[in-house]
């Protein structure tokens, strides 16, 4: 090959490698914050939690059904607003879409008291070590993960669901097509 051409290719190759490294460095730097965060379309990480009644719930057992995975705390005002809608629709969609409400590590008393006060019958579990919360990268409360029957995340909703219709629309999206 012509030497001049060879040199050009050589330079191009070296510059390409360097550019690749630089782009990688900048990319990882920019995405450092959001790395590992779940997105719609991802597989929902499996977990196991024990609810207030002592029953264990493993996410993978729900395959074939939609899951409304809700992270909440007793002090959180919007959580209080959406709970009644959740309670109503949990009954309506029984067997199709299951609610799993994960409290972010408060005391048994607080969670039981809350459940009693709002008359909640769907499974509520306390994530005392905040392991599930960390796995799902939950920060503001409430955060809801809508999980499709195939176990992938359909949508991540941050903030309270004030209208019953909002909750219903979410349920409709993940209910198994029969």
């Amino acid at each position: 090959m012509d030497k001049k051409k060879k040199r050009l290719y050589m330079r191009a190759a070296i510059l390409a490698v360097l550019a690749g490294l630089v782009i990688y460095a900048l990319y990882t730097n920019v995405t450092k914050e959001s790395r590992g965060a779940l997105e719609a379309g991802d597989k929902a990480p499996d977990f196991v939690l024990t609810d207030l009644k002592g029953e264990t719930h493993q996410l993978s057992d729900y395959e074939g059904k939609g899951v409304f995975l809700n992270f909440w705390g007793t002090w959180c005002e919007p959580c209080k607003e959406e709970m009644p809608h959740m309670e109503k629709l949990a009954n309506e969609y029984e067997g199709q879409v299951e609610i799993l409400a994960v409290n972010v590590g408060e005391s048994d008393f607080q969670v039981n008291n809350f459940a009693k006060q709002y008359g909640l019958t769907f499974p509520i579990a306390i994530d005392s070590g905040k392991e599930v919360m960390d796995t799902y990268g939950v920060d503001p409360l409430p955060t809801t993960f809508m999980i499709k029957p195939d176990g992938t995340i359909d949508q991540i909703v941050i903030g309270g669901l004030i209208q019953e219709e909002q909750v219903r629309a979410l349920f409709e999206r993940v209910k198994p097509s029969s």
């Binding site: 510059l15 005391s107 008393f109």
Partner: protein, 538 residues
């Protein structure tokens, strides 16, 4: 543009100034100069040659030492801006950065935050500058080391006399070289560790050529160092997490994916007592009040044997117990756990006494754990207290009259108690805080009187893992090898040749000319070969 063929027959790359082989000047400029420029042996710096395509232009930009120095200056100036105010990473976490800077540092702080200097070292433009420095290092080095290597490898023993005449150390004289003298100086040169080559009756003695690679080895070290820094952002290579852990708590060690748990048995803060070591500490104690002696967390590390799924009940087996002190981390796997910070006297439990308001008589005391409450507390003989509500961070009442907690942290705990006594079997409601009780549902005979507060300390541990350290160490070592290699030896050469009845002698070194002169003197002393003179007086 093509190759440059020298009169001696050697074909040089385009742009060559001095023939790689015989040393003849190839450019008009070099022919007119008094001394030849030996910095890169007159070789063709590649960037100087082609400048046509965009690739060549980028290459040429980064190969310039001038550009490289500008990048370093910019980096230094930029990095210094980040030290004016504390970086975001170090400010207290109880306040958002955008408020913190304005609150604490006023208008200047606000501007500082707006420009983005609060997180300068993670900013894209700062990373880009560091990256530009890396690219400049690679390209500038390649652009010089390749031609220099070629020139030194191809150099001939019998250099053209025009090359020798333009060396700083030079002498010429009528005469012929005697074989016996040549043999004598060869021995002397060999003793001084010169490598001597003879060709066509000419002699070249050379030593320490490797020192010329010093700067490039040094650059390789720097590049390894930068690559190590780059690897920090690769998942799993670098972990730096903070864990706030209360006394008695067992928590997952962040960064270990739930494989490890740590328990804080006790946090201790010790101060120096006055008189304990009067000469060293008394003056300081007088001045500032307290001088800390020890920050310590007595920690136990556990491995979780049931870590398949998040949320699964951990099965803990003890791995090690250690008193973590400042600079005495607990180490396991590739992790180190450091004592970082603490908060003393966080509320843990509250004591209340069921008290008859009128008589002041107490019917027993209950202890409410702020992290694990009971539904009811039986005091015996018909006295019982039921907990109806717990508001860890009480913040007034909502519109519907419900008590509101603004966070899950027990900063301002409040309780709604139902007091059952033989006289009031249906119960009376009392809303109790630390120094205050209320009767939200009407006048009561009894009250829950606050008696006592249990507190505990919270310790902050830093969990760190850094797999890039060995790479940074290698980079640093290579860097130093380069510095030493380039600094402590000199590349010295001596040329001697006879042509048409004249003897030519020339010497060159990349530094320390005095040393070379002395060496040549001791070699040539007592021979008929003239000693080269230094023609550049400094």
């Amino acid at each position: 543009m093509g190759k440059v063929k020298c009169e001696c027959g050697h074909v040089n790359p385009n742009g060559t100034i001095l023939c790689e082989s015989c040393g003849r000047a190839l450019t008009e400029k070099a022919k007119q100069e008094k001394f030849v420029d030996m910095r890169y042996e007159g070789s063709a710096r590649r960037s100087q040659t082609y400048n046509k395509t965009i690739i060549d232009k980028v290459w040429n930009f980064f190969s310039s030492v001038k550009v490289g120095i500008w990048i370093i200056v910019l980096l230094l100036v930029a990095a210094s801006f980040g030290t004016i105010l504390p970086q975001e990473f170090y400010i207290p976490s109880n306040m958002p950065a955008e408020m913190y800077y304005e609150d604490v540092y006023g208008q200047f702080g606000k501007i500082y935050y707006m420009i983005g200097f609060h997180d300068l070292y993670n900013s894209v433009w700062f990373s880009a500058l560091v990256a530009a420095l890396g690219v400049s290092l690679v390209i500038a080095s390649l652009d010089r080391v390749v031609p220099l290597y070629r020139a030194l490898k191809n150099q001939r023993v019998d250099r053209h006399e025009s090359f020798m005449k333009k060396q700083r150390l030079f002498a010429e004289q009528e005469g012929t070289l005697q074989a016996s003298e040549i043999e004598k100086i060869k021995v002397k040169l060999a003793k001084k560790r010169y490598k001597v080559r003879m060709e066509n009756g000419a002699l070249l003695a050379e030593k320490n050529r490797f020192t010329r690679w010093g700067p490039y080895v040094n650059h390789v070290g720097l590049i390894i160092f930068l690559l190590g820094a780059l690897l920090r952002s690769v998942p799993g290579m670098y972990i730096d997490e903070l864990l706030w852990i209360r006394e008695g708590e067992t928590l997952q060690v962040p960064g270990t994916d739930g494989a490890y748990y740590v328990k804080n048995n006790e946090f201790t803060l010790e101060n120096y007592e006055e008189g304990e070591d009067p000469e060293v500490f008394d003056e300081a104690i007088d001045r500032v009040g307290t001088v800390a002696k020890n920050y310590q967390t007595d920690a136990i590390l556990y491995r979780d044997e049931n870590n398949e799924l998040p949320g699964a009940e951990p099965e803990l087996t003890e791995v090690q117990a250690k008193s973590i002190q400042v600079n005495q981390p607990m180490k396991f796997d590739q992790f180190a756990v450091y004592q970082t910070s603490f908060r003393q006297d966080e509320m843990k439990a509250m004591h209340f006494a069921l008290t008859n308001k009128e008589t002041g008589e107490e019917f027993g005391e209950i202890v409410v754990d702020l992290f694990d409450q009971q539904e009811s507390y039986d005091l015996g003989s018909g006295y019982k207290v039921e907990l109806r509500g717990y508001y860890p961070d009480f913040d007034g009442f909502s519109e519907s009259g419900e008590p509101v907690s603004k966070s899950p942290l027990p900063n301002n705990p409040a309780f709604l108690f139902n007091m059952i006594t033989p006289e009031t079997p249906d119960g009376e409601m009392s809303f109790a805080q630390i120094r205050n009780t209320m009767e939200p549902l009407g006048e009561t005979e009894y009250k829950m009187a606050f008696k006592n507060l249990e507190t505990r300390d919270v310790s902050a541990l830093t969990i760190r893992k850094d797999l890039t350290l060995p790479i940074l160490a290698v980079g640093g070592i290579v860097f130093m090898i380069g510095v030493i290699q380039g600094s402590y030896w000199n590349h010295r050469r001596l040329w001697i040749r006879e042509k048409e009845g004249r003897i030519y002698v020339a010497g060159h070194t990349n530094k320390n000319w005095h040393g070379l002169k002395r060496e040549i003197h001791s070699v040539l002393n007592g021979t008929a070969i003239p000693e080269p003179e230094d023609r550049q007086k400094d």
